[in-house]
């Protein structure tokens, strides 16, 4: 297996792409699709695998710059990284890359280079195509489709993995269908959400020959540096007065702001989390009842909820439960955070479950927000519930 390095995708694919098999990132026009292939390439290199990048629409120098913008220094891997330059020939520029396609308009010339690279590459290696679409534009649709079949056979013979970036421009229906469903062992769709309330980008597995397909779409964001992050636009943090919600938000966040007066939140806490391939925006609500209208206002469209409780104050638990109702959280993934576990008289999560009368399937996790203990465990648990496998 060669992992793709895209958060969550490797879980859905059961570890990545098996040796000798192929994957296509099928991107709709206008979304940031090219970064997926680059991230897979860099991930392979960083885990000790050799990688070749087939540059067909950008100068190799500019590709190294693009990779650098994401913080991916590919040249540090020396011989394990190479570029097949199928671009410089187009503009008549000199090229110093290891493989240079003499005539990018002739697909056989490219096939020859790919064959050479595969022979040289220590197996298992990964070949990543910057853009199948530009190859198709230059060499013709049916010629390219035939060539892809040939390349995929080489991949099988030489024990490499092929990863293609493809942008679904208006090619013929047969071509699009063939790329989407037939020609590769797996297809990952990369699309954009338009017209709905959240404007964003998502990816999801359409097909994978080696495992059952998980029908789940993941929102993503592209960070520079960083690359593709699975993105959760809203996670709500709610709970009774003085439970430690703001402290929890700040403990999780790489940067956060709070609107508070006299030590209590009056409007909201807002924070960005960037953790293990996941990016999320966190909204913390006030706790006091007089702010309930604001809680209602802010809680729409949350994808997951933390209910933070002060483990020493069982008299507030009923209010906590009521807040789940106010935020209309039932049905959403919820993790209850049993905060202030370091204080005298703190109840254990099991005791809290009894007092709250919560069913077994609602998770209650211990935490100390002031020191950050248990905070990321709770985050990872909620993320797993939101993204589900």
């Amino acid at each position: 297996m060669i992992a793709t390095g895209i958060p969550k995708l490797d879980d859905y694919l059961h570890g990545g792409v098996p040796i000798g098999e192929t994957l296509v990132y099928y991107a709709h026009p206008g979304v940031e699709g090219a970064v997926f292939g680059m991230q897979s390439l860099f991930h392979a290199l960083s885990t000790g695998i050799s990688g070749v990048y087939v540059a067909s629409s950008t100068e190799p120098r500019r590709i190294r710059e693009q990779l650098g913008e994401f913080g991916w220094d590919v040249d540090a891997y020396g011989d394990r990284f190479a570029i097949i330059d199928a671009f410089s020939g187009l503009i008549g520029a000199d090229s110093h890359e290891r493989y240079v396609v003499a005539d990018p308009g002739d697909v056989r010339s490219l096939t020859q280079c790919i064959h050479n690279a595969m022979e040289d590459l220590r197996e298992p290696g990964v070949l990543v195509f910057e853009s199948l679409s530009t190859i198709m534009d230059l060499c013709g649709e049916s010629e390219t489709l035939d060539a892809i079949e040939e390349w995929n056979q080489y991949a099988m013979l030489y024990d490499h993995v092929m990863i293609y970036n493809f942008t679904a421009w208006p090619y013929s229906d047969d071509t699009l269908l063939s790329i989407k469903e037939n020609i590769c062992d797996s297809t990952v769709s990369v699309g954009g959400i338009v017209g709905d309330v959240i404007f964003g980008q998502y990816f999801g597995v359409l097909k994978a020959n080696w495992t059952d397909v998980v029908r789940k779409y993941i929102l993503f964001k592209v960070l520079k540096p960083g690359g593709v992050r699975a993105y959760i636009p809203k996670i709500l943090v709610t709970g009774p007065f003085d439970a430690g919600k703001s402290t929890f938000v700040h403990a999780l966040s790489t940067r956060a702001v709070s609107v508070d007066r006299f030590g209590t939140t009056i409007a909201l806490d807002h924070g960005h989390v960037d953790h293990k391939g996941f990016a999320a925006d966190i909204f913390g609500t006030p706790g006091q009842e007089r702010f309930d209208p604001i809680i209602k206002l802010l809680s729409g469209e949350a994808m997951g909820v933390f209910l933070v409780l002060d483990s020493t104050r069982s008299e507030d638990f009923a209010r906590g439960k009521q807040m789940l109702e106010i935020t209309r959280s039932f049905g959403l993934p919820v993790v209850i955070v049993a905060n202030k576990q370091d204080c005298d008289g703190a109840l254990t999560p099991e005791n809290i479950r009894d007092k709250l009368d919560m069913p077994e399937n609602i998770l209650i996790m211990p935490a100390v927000a002031t020191t950050g203990e248990g905070v990321f465990e709770a985050f990872e648990t909620l993320i797993d519930m939101v993204t589900g496998v």
Binding site: V197, K234, H270, L298
Partner: protein, 115 residues
Amino acid sequence: MLGKVLADLGKIGDVEASAVATRDGLLMNADMHNMGDPEMFVAMSATMLGAAETATTELNKGIPNRVIVESDNGKLICMGSGPKALLVVMTAPEAGLGLVLVEMVKATEKIGKLI
């Protein structure tokens, strides 16, 4: 599409930043010229508008047309745009509010139709 509406607003003199968000504070589009964190900016604006609406309706004065915040370094105007969205604009301190408000009303109508 939303980007076009915001870009048009940006052409008015003294408009420095603008953004469209859902009423519950999720960013839909922003034209911020690197002035700050758009996600946080719209979350706070949504809270402000929501709080203002709650405050006035509590006293049976209906829903406010807009919230205007004036500071020495700029003016911030936030208004609803249909039932689901809101528009927020940050201007230079010397900006004339008249023109900005007229253009914002036009923009909110367009946004309302787009969503």
